[in-house]
Symmetry: C2
Subunit: 343 residues, 2 copies
DNA sequence: TTTAATTTTTTACGCGCGTAAATTATATTT
DNA sequence: AAATATAATTTACGCGCGTAAAAAATTAAA
């Protein structure tokens, strides 16, 4: 490889003995130039190690290969995992994903949308903060750029929504818990930062009533995204304060459940199904780490694979058809009961 | 807010009655224009909601406010956490971080470096994959762009290295474990994907020998970044195969330890310090989740705050001084023993 | 009010590339 | 070999903005 540094396509074109527009064409699609030309370009490429500037490329293109992925909080392994899968799908489909996290901050979410605008994305995959989001800004964004909404639904926003069927999943778990023991109390945050919490709350109440049980809800205090810590503290006060009307707790999400398990462990309560267990605990999400709690956490899994693949595919179709779909499609994937040792 | 859409600075300048270069100056630094002018611009800003295109801005600037952050595997909460902190630091310092993950793939690491080149970053914070990295590509990158290396050191690459003192940390843990019980066996992967593993291995051997003990190492099989799963499976075979020469296991990292704890739990081994415990397990990293294992995991914490802050600050200084430092600075932060219940 | 100092505007060019239209060169067919 | 089809080149302009230099307008000082 030569030591000379190549600044731009002009220089590279000169060195390879081909005109710049042809080189440009080559980078857009290597098949679109004559084989002999292609060979010459590729030989030069080996010698000089030039790569076109991606953002300059996209500046004057009507259709770019950039896509944005925006999630509310990347340090949460749930989002990290689903983002990773979507990223991989989009790369395989020939796109270049840019992943951004809003760190739980609605202002940063808006800023990130502005940043995404700047890369002229062909489309965006958006998991919004939810209630905290600045709806107007998001709506404006989606009006301009084809967007697939995932994980958390903002009604009417984006061309499509792909998500988890919280209602079905909640029913599934309550039915299982009721069938195999006492009906559960619901353990949640009073003001949850994560989306989906409301839906789960409502589904819990509705399902309990349908089954003829009285809903019983424990709402723990706490702000922010340190959900395990909040679950732990809330669990301590709930258990020591004897707020539990049954021996079965259904947590709004796995991270709260993980904290609750830690509290139970510390207080010497045995958690699980068998005789001699004082408590059953179930979660929701199938968080990457809940296979490794002690006891392992019974939970409901999102269909991660389907949600990631469908979101990605929906966006790709949207982009490649070139049309904005007339009606907004909503696709929900059923949750799956993951029976482990905690309930 | 008006319904009209503004495409570029030209249009916005026309609507606000100010010339484009002055508007450009305003966006660079609002204080640099006359107060009356600033007012007019800001009034127009409220009306029309225009934002300059970030990448077009940077295209022709000698010094941009973009910085890149590249980590090997973002779905690992360790990297998610440290990246989040660095991102926040850089935002506060007035920079615009772009966070990228290589998903454990060296080729993607090189592609990400190319992508970073395209945004003309003022500097880059790089946690390389380590041994798997394509050293030549990284060297070339660092020659062109001021880079601070963090977490995993690639000797001679980047202007500075900021990381965790694996040697001190390993010594600290071995001394603690030895003092409070039997000297530990070392539990690691035969071919670890994560950086730092080698250093810890060497430090283990050296420290054990210094203390007059025979090093005993269990190397588990497995590829990829599913470290908990690998730790679990390796733990199962190690325990059932009676490969343990002592009752104390020091894991190369917390994620392996988490898997190992799950295996011990499943096999009915009590883990912890007290009488009646068959095993002691310690980890390394202070992974965000090891506070919530059962028993809680004794480990060594990186000085997350210091590493993130120092990396960010070093890069900012490097950028703002405008010089490339003559000698490569290496800063290691000592680990801290986090005593919990598992050892 | 005049003069000097500071801003702002105008003008003009550059960044690295896309892309369309017209022209020229090369390959394929008859 | 001539005619046709295909590909490459030249030319020219655009994307959204930075920035430098000169000219014009505004403000502050004398």
């Amino acid at each position: 490889m030569s030591a000379e540094k190549i600044k731009n396509m002009e220089e590279f074109a000169a060195l390879s003995g081909i005109s710049r527009p042809t080189v440009s064409k080559y980078f857009h699609d290597p098949e679109s130039v004559r084989p002999s030309t292609r060979e010459r370009i590729e030989k030069a490429l080996e010698q000089y190690d030039y790569r076109p500037n991606i953002f300059a490329m996209n500046q004057n293109r009507k259709l770019t290969k950039n896509v944005g992925i925006l999630v509310p909080y990347l340090a949460d392994p749930f989002f990290a995992e689903i983002a990773r899968r979507i990223e991989t799908s989009m790369i395989q489909a020939g796109y270049r994903p840019i992943l951004l996290s809003s760190h739980g901050d609605p202002r940063l979410e808006v800023e990130n949308l502005d940043l995404l605008r700047s890369i002229k994305p062909a489309g965006v995959l958006l998991a919004p903060l939810g209630r905290a989001s600045e709806r107007a800004a998001i709506e404006r964004f989606c009006k301009d750029i084809p967007t697939v909404n995932f994980d958390a639904n903002i009604e009417g926003v984006g061309e499509a929504f792909v998500g988890h069927n919280n209602t079905q999943a909640t029913e599934l778990m309550i039915e299982y818990l009721t069938r195999s023991g006492e009906p559960p109390v619901f353990f949640e945050m009073r003001s949850p930062p994560n989306p989906n919490a409301r839906k789960r709350h409502k589904a819990y109440v509705a399902t309990m009533e349908r089954l003829g049980h009285t809903p019983h809800i424990i709402q723990v205090e706490g702000e922010g995204w340190e959900l395990e810590e909040i679950g732990y503290r809330g669990g301590m006060t709930a258990i020591t304060g004897r707020q539990l009307s049954t021996n079965t707790i259904f947590c709004s999400n796995d991270r709260l459940a993980i904290g609750l398990l830690a509290a139970a462990y510390e207080l010497g309560l045995r958690v699980g199904l068998g005789g001699g267990c004082a408590l059953r605990v179930a979660g929701h999400d199938n968080h990457p780490f809940c296979r490794y709690t002690c006891p392992t956490l019974t939970t409901i899994s999102h269909n991660y694979g389907a949600i990631a693949a469908t979101s990605a595919q929906t966006l790709v179709e949207l982009i490649e058809s070139g049309e904005r779909s007339a009606e907004r499609r909503t696709q929900l994937f059923d949750g799956e009961l993951i029976m482990r040792a905690s309930a």
